[in-house]
Point group: C2
Amino acid sequence: MKNFSDYLYLSDIGHTNAKIWRDGNIETIPLQKFKPEQITQKIFYINVNHQIQKTLSQLPNWIDLKNYFSIKTNYPNLGIDRKVAIFEIENGIVVDLGTAITIDILKNGTHLGGYILLGKSGTLKTFQEKTPHLKFQQISENSEYPNLTENALYFGFFQPIINFIQSIQAKENLKIILTGGDAQEFFNLINFPATLNKNLIFENMQKIVKYKNLK
Amino acid sequence: MKNFSDYLYLSDIGHTNAKIWRDGNIETIPLQKFKPEQITQKIFYINVNHQIQKTLSQLPNWIDLKNYFSIKTNYPNLGIDRKVAIFEIENGIVVDLGTAITIDILKNGTHLGGYILLGKSGTLKTFQEKTPHLKFQQISENSEYPNLTENALYFGFFQPIINFIQSIQAKENLKIILTGGDAQEFFNLINFPATLNKNLIFENMQKIVKYKNLK
């Protein structure tokens, strides 16, 4: 028996990589190597990259899903990736940990606003350019606060974000949903409840293709 | 009448700039333009930059203060800039907002550990490389959470750090001392007590020169 997702091609294009979903398998292609014209099948995409949009608009098999996601929000320039991530979430804090980290707050079906932070890879890269001798990693130690530079950097990156999300959670009493490439690592570091869904974007893209009968 | 600081030359060398204190006036020189051999007067310095250290060690008028600052800590590789910033602070959270942001916790005269975060300039620069169309600035708006991308980026950078410092403060009940190039901006954003001292590093370097009779 065939599933709905069979022969379904999806793509999520950001500022660093293009991710291609082919029947449940995900390929991540750095933008420099991304050649959308090489994909000849019908493919549904979302894209936040202005430069690549020109190429995509000229390819008839590349179908932009951006106008299908309608979100109740006062945020005029909310990126399509964030719209897809929060799609159908009535109440929650959606945290997408990718090249950028976006934090979006939803209450009673309305998007109240959100934040954009620099993600782990960009932070790490910038530190390594300035201070290549410093390592960014988690090392077991007994002290309450980091006494090793590796941990000072590692928890200096993660701990403020953890505290921040927890403080919004405490204030709004909303569930936390984590997605994106660094979501698993973040999930391992927190000691409060959260839902981890790495494929949130592709799952919501699939939903729209199904609901709107686009396939 | 002459002050102690007259004819006193100090330098604080980081990974981006060298700051020179001449009798109370501060000059900031980008490292590419920094020529220490052009300063022929006696000058006391601290330096965290491994590459420049070789040159400085060969200049007899450049006097390294690094061995004069002794701090009670279990942090073996605590940078000299952080040691100078926390010098003589018995109880407090010292936040140095520069190229990097360092957060150090002191209790009963002991340094308990600390964190290193990427500072504003590096975060801004990394975002602008990826997404040059996005602006990073504070714009007045009425919503509780940012609804403008400018604010999503601006508060996405500052708010987690503000919350983090406040959470350490609440836990440890320590005063907060702010220093570094972005300290004034940070100070303007917080709604809890803190002491702003932009010249903490140079003031503490002066103290050591005086205490140890090095001038």
